[in-house]
Symmetry: C2
Subunit: 227 residues, 2 copies
DNA sequence: ACCTGAACACCGTTCAAGT
DNA sequence: ACCTGAACACCGTTCAAGT
């Protein structure tokens, strides 16, 4: 799309040029911008349509209801997360350092765009009412999770991390513990729950120390190599 | 209120009896019931008024806007949490066992009423748009947090837990780590993010093992400096 | 296949009164 | 002090058409 000539915007038929048949994408873009700027997804479908320059009915040609639109926005957020996580560990050899980089990146992204983050893990996916319709976002979330599991698996193979047992679930369970801790701190910070006299850096460091400690655990016989 | 005769409900003036001047309380009750049953707080103020048997305008005499009503509901949730946490550790001597009991209770309550839990930590408190109006819920949350901090402080004094440094923040930081992990797992479970082949019990146990490990953690060689 | 515009039943919030 | 009822400007979603 970006390779196409930008002159189309200066052409006479300006209104048609913007959508050029991809109103769906345009709606997601506008919604993402709204979520980011207003830090809220309470905007109406009608306003969305207005900003996209179409009738208030048009969005329903692409999304059955508002929930589906929000799920699409969440999917974009998960994709961004996945890319950011992959980039964060790029070129890092030490799996422990890689894990820390993952957690810090995760936290940073959450704090950068709290509303998007909450949308990703919120009601849009959790199927509060009916069946889990927005599979899109769920799949995207699973891909982001895979990055974390890979690092832990590699660390376990390298002997840096000690996993609970030989169960096939071990990696998934360990990853979920790390994820829980990081996700929890991110959420608490987003929601401004911690007392204001604690600094984000201190909280992060304390948590990561605990998380890493939990993974090194078990055989703490001899002092391991310091970093 | 409970000490008052319940015969008032069987009296002739049934309509007046229910509110007996406390429409505010009645509205909170109805809202809490709606949140619990529908697992959602998308209900309208008008519907709330309908169920309470008053005009759709009446609620505005007690809550400036819907947010304030939701904050009041959240405050009830925090109070319930505080009571449940206190009861959970009642009679337990071992501070490590007490801490585990706290985490498990926290998790259980969250899974019992996900919508209320999400409301407690959600936008109603986080002041997405303006100033932090709903101080009510914030205070209630701080009280619940105090229970956790007490257990950790006592454990540290008894030598069961080893805290980072002598900084006055140490207890708060340690408590926040434990809270983050527990809160994170609760949220992830509520949102059905973990893969379905993992059992809740396995996830919980793995997490708690890691959390406890982090608190026992022998001071590793170099001392930790808090900023 | 996609869009428009009218229509329906709702909503949050305000205003002007009532008691 | 608290409640009512009308009113305003919105909303999500559906229907019947247009191209």
């Amino acid at each position: 799309m970006r390779s196409a000539s930008t002159k189309t915007r200066t052409r006479p038929g300006r209104q048609r040029a913007y959508h050029h048949g991809d109103l769906r994408r345009a709606l997601i873009d506008v919604a993402l911008e709204l979520v980011t700027r207003e830090q809220d997804w309470a905007f109406s479908i009608r306003e969305l349509a207005r900003r996209a320059g179409v009738s208030h009915r048009a969005p329903y040609n692409h999304f059955a209801e508002k929930l589906d639109l929000l799920a699409a926005v969440a999917a974009v957020g998960f994709e961004r997360l996945r890319v950011a996580l992959l980039r964060a560990i790029d070129g890092i050899d030490d799996r422990e350092a890689a894990l820390i980089a993952l957690c810090r990146t995760y936290l940073r992204l959450g704090l950068e765009n709290p509303a998007l983050y909450r949308l990703m893990f919120g009601p849009a996916l959790s199927a509060t009412g009916a069946v889990d319709r927005p599979t899109v976002a769920r799949v995207a979330g699973a891909q982001a999770r895979a990055v974390l599991e890979d690092v832990i698996l590699e660390g376990a193979r390298a002997g840096v991390f000690v996993l609970p047992a030989g169960a096939p679930n071990a990696v998934a369970l360990a990853a979920l513990s790390v994820w829980s801790a990081t996700h929890g701190l991110t959420m608490l910070l987003i929601d401004r729950i911690p007392p204001p006299n604690l600094s984000v850096e201190d909280m992060t460091e304390t948590l990561l120390r605990s998380v890493i400690g939990g993974l090194r655990q078990a055989r703490m016989a001899h002092s391991a190599q310091a970093r």
